[in-house]
Subunit: 364 residues, 2 copies
């Protein structure tokens, strides 16, 4: 599948215009575009502008509120629950992260559980806000059910990502940003596009058998938790995904498990919902709540340096520090532009025409 | 390998006597025995009294201090760093967890990073203290390096467990307590005892190739992170293990990565240590910092009920809620006794004789 390059600033302007056309206040449109562009810059193509028309469709279905009244519904010195009023997760999650960081600034740590939100983009964007202030950042979200826990064929969990972000000194921050499934759905979509099969261990058939068909989710199959099967620890992947579901949704009053509303507009939410919208969980801890920032950064650099120096199995492939490939992608794409596949370009052009946005996106 | 049953109270008394013979104050001996017995009761045989003589050997080597002066070396309202003064992790970690819970009681959450400690038993014991007070509990520890990150053959990380514990209503708490490796070393030891091979994906050879020999660690092999290989997400297991290493050790001033001192007394720590002892990280968040406890518990019950009701692949094997098997083991072992293998019984009898402990353990 071929792709062409676009300039970051052009895509950013276009994305902002789309959010403004939805009725988002200027500030929210800028913020939401920043979250999406961060994903495209960092090489996580599945979570950036490729999803823009999906947000618009949910807004048209009145499942996304472009002018939410985001409120704090419950609070202590260092904890809070936020109601996103069906707003864009791209706007609701930054509100919650800011609150967590304010609490951390005052008391050492801050933790915010969020209900009544929507897809928040990449977890890394939110956790990394803390790093800028010499804090450790945490971000999680639940998501539409695609993953079957160990021993069942029912899709009861999303790919429920968790992110931990740590500031370093001379090295870039360490950012662990991962779906708790063996492989996220985006990987299956890539295999579909190029007509390839997928490795066993990513998904199972509707009967719970091994699957290598990249389209298996369309015939009742399900994704598998990290670990893939019981022998290789899929119960751990299930446990991590459950942890995300509980912290983001049971704790906040959002929907959980099979009740999480689908991100796609053509599927309606279930009717017996136990909560509101989808859930997030955001946290920040001040590094200097534990030790002086300079000491921490010096040891982070020693930690990173030691792992980078590890003897590789293949001389061509050194150990990859979590967050390093995304940082490298950002460095390159800021200069060379952001590659979009033909399908995404077509989708964005149609979206721009429908919403009457000028100028549309133009190739580099 | 055959095993025989022992009464909980007998094993407890014996274990306390051993810790007292090491010079532990009465209160510490009782607490340390409680942590070890919790592991045996919960069916995690590798982390209970089977390790008792290991603690004694480290004490004899003066690597464990039986009368530590545990101190808070750095603190904010909701964060702290504790120095364990080379004490038993079985005593140091409860001190830190208590501190985290006190902070959570006052401010909503509390987080304590610990340096200069030793092996703390099962993470679940510590996290579950919070559950008793309607808090969510977190516990992590780093450990002797046995695991190679993705793309290297070097053992740079421990099996670094993380635990999240959540109170429920009518159901028992959900306790996610897991090593971040594909399989903990205890699983290889079980295979060794019965002369079986291990599944590919648990360990690799010294050259980074696939291994099915349960003794592979003795010839320079290493354990693999959760996910097993890059295609199946081993970089995620590495990321989780790295997160544990950073929160427990880089944050507290303990040793990290390959510098974590070995649990076994016959291996000396490295000489260029960047920190002190091993590290833990303990946390607590008040449920009512987010929503009323009764609401949370009611939704936890709905969550658990829904997952338990999931259609199984095999009718004989329903979905397992994290923590359920351990709870069931405890129920049975409290009544029927704790099974110990012949090797562990022999080890404990010799230990009792050496330390002159009367009465020794006696079979049920």
């Amino acid at each position: 599948m071929s792709s062409v390059l676009f300039k970051e600033s052009d895509l950013r302007q276009f994305t902002e215009s789309v959010f403004k056309a939805m009725g988002c206040p200027e500030e929210d449109a800028t913020l939401a575009a920043d979250v999406l562009l961060a994903s495209d810059l960092r090489g996580i193509d599945s979570h950036g502008v490729a999803r823009l028309s999906g947000y618009v469709r949910l807004w048209k279905k009145q499942r996304i509120n472009a002018t939410p009244n985001i409120t704090i519904v419950h609070e202590t010195a260092t904890t809070a629950t936020v109601d996103g009023d069906s707003g864009l997760g791209l706007v609701v999650a930054p509100f919650a992260m800011k609150l967590a960081m304010e609490k951390a600034g005052k008391y050492g740590s801050g933790w915010v559980s969020v209900r009544n939100s929507n897809h928040f983009g990449i977890a890394g964007y939110h956790a990394m806000q803390a790093v800028k202030k010499d804090m450790i950042g945490f971000a999680m979200t639940n998501a539409s059910p695609l993953v079957a826990p160990t021993f069942t064929t029912e899709r009861l969990l999303g790919t429920n990502p968790m992110c931990y972000a740590f500031p370093a000194g001379n090295y870039p921050p360490v950012v662990v940003d991962m779906a708790t499934a063996a492989a996220a759905n985006g990987k299956l979509e890539i295999a579909q596009r190029v007509g390839k099969s997928i490795p066993e261990g990513w998904a199972q058939t509707s009967a719970g058998g091994p699957a290598t068909d990249a389209n298996i989710l369309k015939s009742g199959g399900s994704l598998l938790p990290l670990g893939s099967d019981r022998d290789h620890g899929s119960h751990k992947g299930f446990g991590l995904s459950a942890t995300v579901d509980i912290l983001t949704a049971v704790l906040s009053g959002a929907n959980y498990g099979p009740w999480v509303p689908p991100f796609v507009a053509f599927l309606d939410p279930l009717t017996d919902l136990p909560g509101k919208g989808i859930g997030h969980f955001l946290g920040a801890m001040r590094v200097d709540g534990f030790r002086p920032v300079e000491d921490f950064k010096q040891h982070m650099d020693q930690w990173i340096g030691r792992f980078k120096a590890a003897k590789p199995i293949d001389e061509e492939q050194p150990v990859v520090i979590p967050g390093e490939p995304e940082m490298e992608a950002e460095r390159i794409r800021k200069v060379q532009g952001i590659p979009l596949t033909d399908a995404v370009v077509k989708d964005l052009r149609e979206l721009g025409e429908k919403l009457g946005i000028e100028p549309g996106i133009k190739e580099l």
